[in-house]
Symmetry: C2
Subunit: 556 residues, 2 copies
């Protein structure tokens, strides 16, 4: 009989628990809990659209509800299930820092702070700290440009230090009461193992490295003088609470306390793995490995890759993060993304509503009939700016090559192709800087629903497009971390071999299409560099001519 492991996946509106078999990854129990506080689990402020907070009590309630629910389900199949759970893994949104007291209790759990949004978790999509982020970026540019080089050149309002600085300015009481600030990804493992005390709590490399400017290259967190330069050093006190080293998902941060074990119906002492962000453990759940990049395709994308630590990796311009062991132990974790993919298709279908209001499925079916190049169109996928590799919100979408005959399906296909070209820019940037990419494992709804899109991606990338067979790759990745710390597998390579699998559908490049898309991609790149950088200057007379020539060729 197989052992089991637990994955806890804290999303934006709900938390999910899964119990999976460690020998084959099969899910034997699952449950979801919707956060109760605020609007769909998010505390908002009608007067400030930037504000997004979450109540820590919801996290605690969610752990109990989902784990007991999942366990009940699993026990119906295997009554001995609880006794054979070897480990627990956790993934969460981030950067989602929580102000805590000296014992590690979230401030919002104290009655004095219970209803104060500033004392709650500052959810990843809270943008109230946009001014503070700009200040940090400006200071780093002058004092420590290397900090920015690791996070794509701009420190974001979504991230740790900006949120803390903001809180210090708008709510002195909360900031004074906070002995430290803990990322949700660190808080949950600490709570489960009662390691929340300031001198015990572990911080994971995923959150620290990507959001708190932690990097072994400069000895951990940002240098004290740098942080002290803001507002008379209010951040220094917090920095002093942060440990010198960070854990990764193969580290055990503690074991399940008797109290939690009791509450959940589990044996005490189960090891709890270091946490990580949802997308990163999603990559793990897809079976990410050196050479196999993972694309999570949703409204936007998260593009993940790993490269062995032995690789001499330079900074990669335009990539939001390169952090050792942030995804897999023993490998650099590399994170990138497109600001809009599904959102572009949703805009086209639901906002532009072409063809008298055609739906996704019809447009997809019609676009699938068209040959590469036959539309004569070329688009830029910048409707929501460009996150990677240009890191520029002030870029916009383009459709070029329109004629009096251009049809809704043709434009739809051009938009899909544009997202493929944008994705290839990321892949090419990675490989140019020494990150190997031989195949791509895709997950997310679009990857499963649109063979048209996947074939175009295979042809544009000229490499196989694989699809993860899991619908819940983040929760599966967390369970894999549980399996590794629980000893079911010696490492993530073994865990991936046993617990992850691919859909039977795989998309291999079609030679004739590859040739056409290579030509189109060169034109895309031309426009990409022309409108998106300041370095490239050239006349563009060739663009429309070449598109017409390709169109005529494709139409015979």
């Amino acid at each position: 009989m197989s052992t089991y492991s637990v994955g806890l996946d804290f999303g934006t509106n709900s938390v999910r628990a899964v119990i999976v078999r460690t020998d084959n990854g099969a899910e034997v129990g699952a449950a979801v809990f919707n956060y109760q506080t605020g609007e769909m689990g998010v505390v908002i402020d009608p007067k400030d659209p930037h504000l997004a907070r979450q109540h820590p009590a919801d996290y605690l309630a969610g752990i109990e509800a989902t784990l007991t629910g999942a366990l009940a389900q699993a026990c119906r199949r295997d009554p001995d299930c609880a006794g054979r759970i070897v480990g627990i893994g956790v993934d969460t949104t981030g950067s989602t820092p929580i102000p805590v007291d000296a014992s590690g209790q979230a401030l919002a759990l104290q009655s004095a702070f219970h209803d104060n949004p500033n004392a709650m978790a500052w959810l990843w999509k809270d943008h109230t700290a946009y001014k503070e982020a700009a200040e940090i970026t400006a200071a780093a540019k002058v004092m420590h440009p290397e900090y920015l080089a690791k996070c794509g050149g701009i420190y974001s309002s979504e991230w740790y230090w900006a949120k803390l600085l903001k809180c210090s300015r708008i709510d002195a009481k909360v900031f004074a009461a906070a002995a430290s600030w803990v990322e949700l990804a660190d808080w949950v493992p600490a709570v489960l193992s009662n390691t929340t005390a300031l001198d015990q709590i572990e911080r994971c490399i995923c959150a620290a490295g990507h959001k708190a400017m932690f990097n072994p290259a400069w000895g951990g967190y940002p240098n004290p003088e740098f942080l002290a330069s803001f507002d008379n050093g209010v951040l220094s006190r917090v920095r002093d609470t942060l440990p010198a080293l960070a854990v990764n998902i193969s580290d055990t941060v503690g074991t399940l306390t008797p109290e939690w074990a009791d509450k959940l119906g589990l044996p005490a002492g189960i090891p709890v793995a270091g946490g990580a962000f949802d997308a990163h453990l999603g990559g793990v759940g897809c079976g990410i490995r050196p050479g196999a990049m993972v694309k999570v395709i949703g409204t936007s994308t998260c593009d993940l890759a790993v490269a062995p630590l032995a690789t001499e990796l330079m900074d990669i311009p335009g990539l939001c993060g390169v952090v050792p062991e942030s995804i897999l132990p023993g490998a650099y974790g590399i994170e990138a993304g497109q600001s809009a993919v599904g959102d572009i298709f949703n805009w086209y279908v639901h906002k532009l509503r072409p063809g008298g209001g055609l739906d996704h499925a019809t447009l997809d079916r019609e676009a699938a009939q068209l040959k590469p190049g036959s539309t004569g169109l070329l688009a830029l996928d910048w409707h929501n700016g460009n996150r990677t590799v240009l890191v520029d919100q002030q870029l916009t979408g383009v459709v070029l090559g329109l004629t009096l005959h251009s049809s809704p399906a043709e434009i739809f296909r051009a938009l899909v192709e544009a997202t493929a070209f944008g994705a290839r820019m990321i892949r090419d940037r990675m490989t140019e800087y020494g990150v190997p990419v031989e195949s791509v494992i895709n997950c997310g709804g679009i990857a499963r629903k649109s063979p048209m899109l996947m074939q175009i991606y295979a042809d544009v990338f000229n490499c196989p497009m694989l699809i993860s067979s899991s619908d819940q790759t983040c929760a599966l990745g967390s369970a894999m971390a549980g399996a590794v710390v629980g000893g079911a597998h010696p490492d993530f390579e073994a865990a991936a071999a046993a617990m992850t699998s691919l859909d039977q559908r795989r998309y291999t490049p079609i030679k004739a299409n590859v040739v056409v898309y290579e030509q189109l991609f060169q034109l895309y790149k031309q426009l990409h560099d022309l409108f998106g950088t300041t370095e490239y200057a050239a006349n563009q007379f060739n663009v429309m001519k070449e598109l017409i020539a390709l169109r005529e060729l494709a139409r015979g």
Copy 2:
């Protein structure tokens, strides 16, 4: 009591006759005759989409039907009408050459040739001679580049010599039987005045100058050696039949014959003016004069301007024609046009069908609510190539600046603005080369139906947009020619003052809008030169940024 004049307006599918008062231009009688032969009056060939011919018998039937009909209507108001008609003017499509025998009778009126399309009129939109046109262009480039400079750089398959050369190659019998080839604009006046004999028939400068490479600068028609260089000189025989001088619309080519007078119920001896093309007499009917450009806005546009012959006009690069007296006597006639205007809006509404299938009126109304610059969008109006000033069919449309919020009405407005910018390129090219443009008189359905569009044009041009009050400016212009040759007015200035009028609605530039559109136009020009010429090279990083800045400004 006023005198009257007759205007005969030969369109693509029908002929219209109007009888108007010479003192105020009021229409007192009108009738339309649909050509009977072929599909909607056009003889086509299911096997060759390039072929478009017309039966000359339809022209003759049309003269009789429309003139008697219009006269009957006019006589109901004024029983003495027929006796007070002072002149007849004629406008037609073109280049529409007709092969004729030595007496000037159209070959297709002979029973032997009655059903042979090659013996009929070769309608303006017949493109069977595309290879011949390319040969003529190539030869002229080497031997006489000045011929091309006057017609925008490319001799068209729609034009006189190309069609003759084609006929000589595909139908030797017809070509041998044709003593000469006469433009429809010349044939109708000659038929009415029985001046069809080869040594009598006058050729108008409008057709000769724009389509048959006639120019006083090189002594009239193309030099005999040049024409002799094609196919052993088959064109030379035709050239020998062409008179050395050309007439204009203030010239009388003859007087109405007793036979026609009888048939029509008119007195014999009424003077018949030299013919011209429909768009040109449309300009006259709008009241064109130096400083007042005319825009005929339909599916595409015809843009007309005149400049006094005393002006030292250089060749104007990219303009399809600059011909002395082709529009008004005593002035250079300048012709330009946009390949698609209404057609772009029709594509958007009927082919792309955005907004779930919104109609023109709704999009227009919603777009009218938007402030200049507020869309953040910039478009290129090249969905059907660019006729002026780039003369390039292989250009295509662009929409730039798209976001996830871009709406159907915003894109519609951007398309309208793009046509305004394209129109301004033409105006600017004219004024740069010494053709004065202080105001624009617009006619055509769109000009009358869309105040939104007209206001944008006024703001983009920074000059008043006026609207002709006539629905039938071509027929009115013809009647003005009749009035001038009939002595009712000494010249076209006087005729225009009396017989043309403007709509009460006029659109004057709004200062704040002018400022915004000037900035947008500079960006348009940047893209125009970048994609449409080979001369301009530059980085375009500024384009999206400036559009966003203008958008934020417009939205406050």
